[in-house]
Amino acid sequence: MSDVAHTQDSYLGPPYGLGAWLLTKDHKRIAILYLISITIFFAVGAMFAAGIRLELLTPKGDLWTSDTYNKLFTLHGVVMIFFFLVPSIPAVLGNFLLPIMIGAKDLAFPRINLLSWYIYIAGAIITLTAVFTGGLDTGWTFYVPYSTLSSHTAVTTAAVGVFITGFSSILTGLNFIVTVHRMRAPGMTWFRLPLFVWAMYATSLQMILGTPVIAITVLLVAAERFLHLGFFDPSLGGDPVLFQHLFWFYSHPAVYIMVLPGMGVISELVAAVSRKQVFGYSFVAFSSLAIALIGFLVWGHHLFVSSQSIYAGLVFSILTMLVAIPSAVKTFNWTATMYKGAVTWDSSVYWVIGFLGLFTIGGLTGLFLAAMGMDIHLSDSYFVIAHFHYIMVGGSLMAYLGGLHFWWPKMTGRMFNDTLAKASAVLVFIGFNLTFFPQFVLGYMGMPRRYHAYPDEFQVLNVLSTAGAGVLAVGYLLPAFYLTYSLFKGAKAPANPWGAKGLEWTVPSPPPTFNFESDPVVNEPAYNYNPGREVHVG
């Protein structure tokens, strides 16, 4: 299939100029634009992280002033979440792959797709303006009344930046939903969709239903600060806890916006490395939807010690326990997929194993926090920090890197150095655990988060953690080098270097501008490594 004579140029081919890229409507080029931008933001966020870790080497606050430190972790959180992890997999891998995977020539609304990138950039620029005009020191959670009445930093600007960026995510989600509904190739039924598409669909649902609420919430904060309106001001009788409800109504689903795409990537990778149908396809597919739905019902678990009604806490706690079940189902299905597979030891499997290990730890520690009595002790401590880094960095980021490597040959048409990729995965895994495992212990011992200086007895573990961050840094820097190197010197990639299934592997690497030489027709289920019998899944 891949050797058909090229009738179209690859999407990387002409037209070249900057204008042709910046005004492109091709989902693949837009994906590359996103790839470049979020990589920059990851670097920015990582520099902030380095600042945090270096300060925490010593108990005294001696490297930065406390105001600077507060800005560091705030900006680290804001940049990493809103400008890196939320757009990462959806806007890069999703943009690139979703249309190809379902056999479409593009997303339903190519112009809106480009617009959403511009909105993202506009939001990013405004937020960066805030960084240089006073910074931001509210924590990424913007809690009122600190953010509205007390902080002296550029909260309004940053809030507007986040507000704008929100629309980028809304438009991406909207585009994906319509595309999945309306653009599938003939024969591409819902149950033949790759699981990555299911995950993206579930993610998009959360984006369109949740993001508007954070948008209006930060707008209210901006209006309260800037126009002196009052929404949460306690001196007018306003309730700061209301803000927390509105904030977490989005921001809890947002954590699934950040992990579901990663889960989708892992589903693809697990199937490809084992050359086997994903175990329990429909369970994995529906667990994505279940997470998307139940994920909206649990936000109150961030408010257990906020003076929220304890009865409301009960409801949120039990629902939180329920939302863990679909994740458990997925984890077990991935594991079972490898059973009797033909498992490769290419770099891909390293990312998969890394993800499974770290996500499981991260997820299970979420249960400590979901058990209300336990959360009283652990809330706002380093235990929480460790919990979410395990999921977001150990899980999602690992999956993102895994996916980026896996589809790199498809996106760029070049092969990278697999040995270095393995080294990078191993380094990330080790460095990661070294950085964040001690934080569980710290949290249990009672070390509060967002502390610029801390009591002496916590030092040993903090030094370990900073050392781990050093290892982690090497693990992240490595791909930057060998992937860039591959662009110029890498071997040309065949259409299907991994021997994987899926429409994206039937087109040349890199794919032609309109993805397919001829309109694709699908007549087999996903991951059909054992062709011959049409199966019912279950």
Binding site: P234, G280, A342, L364
Partner: protein, 303 residues
């Protein structure tokens, strides 16, 4: 609580090891032996899916009930607790004991006694946390919150502000000193560590209530003759509101009645009480409440 921690930790460890072990074993045992090899034709198993839905579900429910039970015990202070008041402000804790002794960023408590801390905040959200006792609660401006604990072993423990509150959040720390009851009494008698006149909060509240600054008692007379309801025995009772609802007069109800009286109007009275928002400080509210609590229905005070 630490038992619950161990339980969840054990469950977690079990699943982490299980998943990790299975993944590694499968990855090694079923490694690709031939470049074109494909995996076995297995699609799923309903029985397995149900098993691994059900077992985590049961475990999660155990965690939920256990955690909820603990939480409810921590959320409801026992009746016999000794009452301490703490008000957070950027960036310190102002603590007052029932006998009136004040301290800043320190809290002395007797061991073996339930201690209830009522929290207020003058500016932004803070969080009063004593990790060693496994307790923590936000101090939210605009309302009062509580937590309670019982120290068992004498010693000094960390007191942290655990909700981010600005520049010196990480310096908003202090110590909790747990001491045997006799030592505690002696410490109290010595005027605590800060010294200064020790007016018990309830007494201070009485002065505020009857004094002329706010003039509460000109309207609120204990014999129901005033234009306002008598506040004797109100605290903790069921109050009938003008719009037909009934509410329990807890800390926040009383606080709201003082700050924004029209929010909940008592049945049979006109909403003429002036709002004291911005006049009465959080600390004074706490004192007035402490005073109102002493006004038991049976023992009407003299004035």
């Amino acid at each position: 609580m630490d038992l619950l921690f161990l339980f969840i930790a054990a469950v977690s460890a079990f699943f982490v090891v299980l998943v990790a072990a299975l993944v590694l074993i499968f990855a090694v045992k079923f490694r690709r032996r031939h470049p074109d090899a494909v995996g076995a034709d297995i699609h799923g198993s309903l029985a397995l899916e149900l098993t691994w839905t059900f077992i985590p579900f049961v475990l999660a429910m155990i965690m939920f009930f256990w955690g909820a039970d603990l939480f409810f015990r921590l959320a409801r202070p026992p009746v016999d607790s000794m009452e301490v008041f703490a008000v957070g402000k950027q960036w310190m804790w102002k603590v007052q004991h029932p006998e009136g002794v004040r301290e800043i960023n320190e809290l002395h408590v007797p061991i073996g006694r339930n201690v209830r801390v009522t929290l207020g905040s003058e500016d932004v959200i803070h969080d009063f946390s004593i990790p060693a006792f496994r307790v923590k609660m936000d101090a939210v401006p605009g309302k009062l919150t509580t937590l309670w604990f019982k120290a068992e072993v004498p010693g000094t423990y960390h007191l942290f502000c655990m909700e981010y509150c600005g520049t010196n959040h990480s310096a908003m720390i202090g110590t909790v000193t747990a001491m045997p009851p006799e030592e505690y009494e002696a410490w109290l008698a010595g005027g605590g560590s800060a010294g200064g006149p020790a007016v018990p909060p309830a007494q201070a509240g009485e002065q505020l209530f009857t004094g002329s600054t706010y003039g509460c008692s000109t309207c609120h007379k204990s014999d129901h003759t005033g234009v306002a309801p008598s506040l004797v025995g109100v605290y903790g009772s069921q109050v009938q509101l003008a719009d037909g609802r009934t509410v329990i007069a807890d800390d926040n109800y009383v606080r709201e009645s003082i700050m924004v009286p029209t929010a909940k109007v008592v049945k049979g009275y006109q909403p003429i009480m002036p709002p004291f928002q911005g006049l009465v400080s959080e600390e004074q509210v706490i004192q007035i409440i402490a005073y109102l609590k002493t006004l038991k229905a049976d023992a009407a005070p003299a004035h």
